[in-house]
């Protein structure tokens, strides 16, 4: 493991213009007559072509953060900068893949994949042709004309990812994409995702609960604190790519896992929760 992990996480680096920067993001929601702070000065920074995971205790406000990045919600304070320009409340930069696949049951696989393009005004024929090109990569050959209910969970997730990728946005925002899958299917999906990512090098921000998943897939992992969420620490995963499960034999990688467990307070019994709500 080359670079040491940066435990401070909250310092702001002057970034080159081709990165995503999240600066001192704050968000609170009304709750029982008062305002409850959910995001407390979140600072993130994502380089182009980087795979970054965000991990945090459940209920810490990761989804709120994602909604802000996806332009579905606006922060009370702070900025989302894309290429140095403010992108608060703009959905045009991030392609969002929600937790549930949200495939539209009345659209066949190919047309579900095209949805984003159609919304952008691309003629259906062109959109379909574009989607059809990526169908084999996404392991969906022969299923283009199926209805969503005819697919397995893993396949549905791949359609959802294809739909996300096809939007041609700067960043893919994946909100626990494999959370609902059984562990074996999840493993297959992670391997597959790594494989396609090697080819396309999308910029990815992944939310997950799963430390091993975050370590396995990412270049860098942000650990968030419990609510109100702020960046607890960031961890560089300095393992060679393409990655295999063997990377977990590496003591440095194992050490990162242990540090992440500690950061999330998951190294202690439940009786002494570390700031979780």
């Amino acid at each position: 493991m080359g670079a040491p992990t940066d435990e401070s996480g909250s310092r702001i680096v002057t970034a080159p213009s081709n990165t995503i920067q999240v600066q001192r993001l704050r968000k609170s929601f009304p709750h029982e007559g008062e305002r409850r702070l959910v995001l407390n000065d979140i600072d993130l920074e994502i380089q182009e072509g980087e795979f970054v995971s965000i991990i945090g205790p459940s209920g810490c406000g990761k989804s709120t953060l994602f909604n802000i990045l996806a332009g579905l919600d606006v922060p009370d304070a702070g900025d989302v900068l894309v290429h140095g320009r403010n992108a608060n409340g703009q959905p045009d930069h991030f392609a969002y893949m929600p937790q549930k696949d949200s495939l539209l049951p009345w659209r066949r696989v190919l047309d579900n994949a095209c949805l984003g393009l159609e919304i952008q005004g691309v003629p259906r024929k062109h959109a379909r042709a574009e989607a059809a090109e990526l169908i084999p990569t996404f392991g969906l050959s022969g299923y283009e004309q199926c209805w969503p209910w005819q697919l397995s969970g893993g396949m549905r997730q791949r359609v959802a990812l294809l739909r996300t990728v096809l939007q041609h946005r700067n960043v893919l925002l994946l909100d626990e994409p494999f959370g609902a899958l059984d562990s074996l299917t999840r493993r297959h999906m992670q391997n597959w995702l790594l494989d396609v990512w090697e080819r396309y090098h999308w910029t990815v921000v992944l939310i997950t609960h799963d430390i091993r998943e975050a370590v396995f897939l990412s270049d860098r992992v942000y650990a968030l604190t419990g609510r109100p969420a702020s960046v607890h620490s960031q961890h560089v995963i300095d393992a060679a790519r393409p990655r295999t499960a063997e990377m977990f034999i590496d003591p440095d990688v194992a050490a990162v896992e242990v540090r992440l467990l500690a950061a999330l307070g998951a190294d202690r019994p439940i009786s002494s929760p570390a700031g979780t709500t």
């Binding site: 996806a70 969002y96 949200s102 539209l104 949805l115 984003g116 969906l140 209910w149 397995s152």
Partner: protein, 296 residues
């Protein structure tokens, strides 16, 4: 009674097969198996109601014959059938205007329901304003309003069309509103994140989501529709099954009344069947009920 058109892959393994190479092959075999299974399902489903219907008619026939009931009070099914058959030209000529009124009224009702539901879906204020009136419209006794329609609009088709619309548009509107409202929040968020505007979200998400609800409403209201038209005619018309029944009753031709009732029932059933077929075509993306997956 659902008559939905089955999607392919009704086999249990079709829903969950994972490997890409087993999917689209042997389509011909699947199609053949599918049609055979649909046929046997249809026959299986038709059998019990047929037996029950025949049984009831037989009981009625036996009762009338054995108890020697006066045919003005209660004619036997055989007598009703004979009377109906003899008067078939007259019944047919009276059925046509009833059918026309039904279809016109139903079209009017669907149009009004969509307009109202769309407006209410886009505007909360409109919804709050319209909803109480919508419910009130259903508390109007048709018995009282139908004769008034005749006074206002004469012996034309219009009063009957209005009665049909009045009794059918409520279930359709309510079904549509519920359908729009049942749109998943997550899907809405997804479309917003894609940059979809309100109209795009409505057309691509809310309308398709509402379709199953819409067709449920349609199937409920089509059964009221024919009866509504008949009732509209009953209070004043020149032609139609309703006026046919009234005249037959006045001349104590009970068998003719019941023959017209039977025609009404057949027309209703036929329309219900048509709605179901259209529904099956429009909702062919729906997953067939699990019983059908397992049973094929």
């Amino acid at each position: 009674m659902t008559l939905s058109v089955q999607p392919f892959f009704v086999d249990a393994d079709g829903a969950s097969s994972q490997s890409a190479d087993t999917a689209p092959s042997s389509t011909a075999l699947r199609t053949r198996r599918r049609w055979r299974s649909i046929l046997s399902q249809r026959l299986g489903r038709l059998l019990p109601p047929t037996i029950l219907g025949v049984g009831l008619l037989t009981a009625w026939q036996l009762y009338v014959t054995i108890a020697k009931v006066n045919s003005t009070v209660l004619p036997s099914p055989a007598r009703v059938a004979t009377a109906g058959w003899k008067d078939r030209q007259e019944l047919w000529d009276n059925m046509i205007p009833t059918l026309q009124e039904t279809l016109l009224g139903f079209t009017l009702s669907i149009t009004a329901a969509w307009l109202l539901a769309v407006v209410c879906d886009f505007s909360k204020i409109a919804r709050r304003a319209v909803e109480p009136l919508l419910v009130m419209s259903q508390t109007i006794p048709i018995v009282a309003i139908a004769p008034l329609f005749v006074i206002w609009f004469g012996f034309t088709m219009l009063p009957k069309v209005l009665v049909v619309a009045l009794v059918t548009f409520f279930p359709i509107t309510v079904a549509l509103l519920r359908g729009f409202a049942s749109t998943a929040d997550e899907a809405t968020s997804l479309l917003v994140s894609m940059g979809a505007n309100a109209v795009q979200r409505f057309v691509r998400l809310r309308v398709p989501t509402s379709l199953p609800f819409f067709f449920s409403g349609l199937r409920i209201s089509i059964t009221y529709a024919v009866v509504g038209a008949v009732f509209g005619e009953y209070v004043g018309a020149e032609r139609g099954l309703g006026i046919y029944m009234l005249l037959a009753k006045n001349s104590r031709n009970t068998d003719h009344v019941l023959a017209a009732v039977a025609v009404t029932a057949i027309v209703s059933l036929a329309l219900y069947f048509i709605v179901s077929v259209v529904e099956g075509m429009a909702l062919r993306w729906e997953r067939p009920p699990t019983s059908q997956v397992a049973g094929s």
